[in-house]
């Protein structure tokens, strides 16, 4: 649960910033335009921020599902599969998101 609480506090801050940047600080229609997104991806600080947001939210989410599944059934094989599945899911989704980020910053 400690992981949940730690990532939760971080997520509240990071998600709030993300929502403010996407809808309030920049008007929504401009925020989702191609040119705007390209420029913010290529802003070093914002790219790091997005990567951090990605990791925190996905760890919190998949760990949450892991907690739900552990509460549902308790057996040695089930526990091993749930833990392994959680790690795989986190690595796969963080990997895919990071790929998007890297391609946006360095690709093309």
């Amino acid at each position: 649960m400690l992981v949940q609480y730690a990532t939760a506090v971080a997520a509240v801050v990071l998600v709030s910033i993300h929502l403010l940047m996407q809808g309030v600080v920049t008007p929504y229609a401009t925020a989702i335009s191609y040119g705007n997104i390209l420029s913010i991806y290529r802003n070093g600080i914002y790219a790091v921020f997005l990567e951090l947001l990605l990791v925190v939210v996905l760890v919190h989410g998949f760990n949450g599902v892991r907690i739900i599944l552990h509460e549902w059934k308790q057996s040695a094989p089930w526990s091993s599969w749930v833990d392994a599945g959680t790690v795989i899911a986190i690595v796969a989704s963080v990997g895919y998101g990071t790929r998007t980020l890297i391609l946006a910053v360095f690709g093309g």
């Binding site: 929504y28 997104i37 989410g61 690709g107």
Partner: protein, 154 residues
């Protein structure tokens, strides 16, 4: 709380009991919704990762591509997609505010001294501040969804 002249009638509500919100207390519903919204948000985030990856051409892309971005914008930037985003705002803000309430509970903030266990078993430890926070979470969620509506449809 209802009195139990005939204990058997009170307990045999069956499936109808599931539909009665008074069957469980507010904290129990908050627990249910915390989990349900959590899974819903996770699914949304995975979808969001998918659609934003079209900025670089999708799973098979190689770099920023305006045509690919226009393609996905055509699919998700419409009234239905925006409605989904309003629901996401509702769900995210409830999950977040209720989560803050849970962290405060874990730290003991808002929890009062327990009292003797007497019928109708209302926990004095969870009344007042912690109770208010559940309603605050619901109110913040509705307010956030209203803001999202104004931004996306206004």
């Amino acid at each position: 709380m209802k009195s139990t002249e005939s204990g058997r009638e009170e307990n045999s509500r069956g499936v109808r009991g599931w539909l009665n919100p008074y069957h469980y207390n507010l904290e129990r519903w908050a627990y249910v919704f915390q989990r349900v919204t959590g899974v819903a948000i996770l699914l949304y985030v995975l979808g969001h990762l998918g659609d934003t990856s079209f900025f670089v051409g999708g799973p098979t892309g190689a770099g920023p591509s305006e045509s690919s971005w226009k393609f996905i914008s055509g699919i998700v930037e419409n009234s239905f997609g925006h409605l989904i985003l309003v629901l996401v705002a509702l769900v995210v803000f409830f999950h977040g505010m209720n989560g803050i309430r849970l962290i405060l509970a874990e730290l003991g903030i808002g929890i009062r001294k327990p009292s003797a266990i007497e019928y109708p078993y209302e926990p004095k430890s969870l009344r007042s501040f912690q109770r208010y926070l559940v309603w605050v979470a619901i109110a913040v969620a509705i307010a956030a969804a209203a803001c999202a509506w104004l931004i996306l449809f206004g």
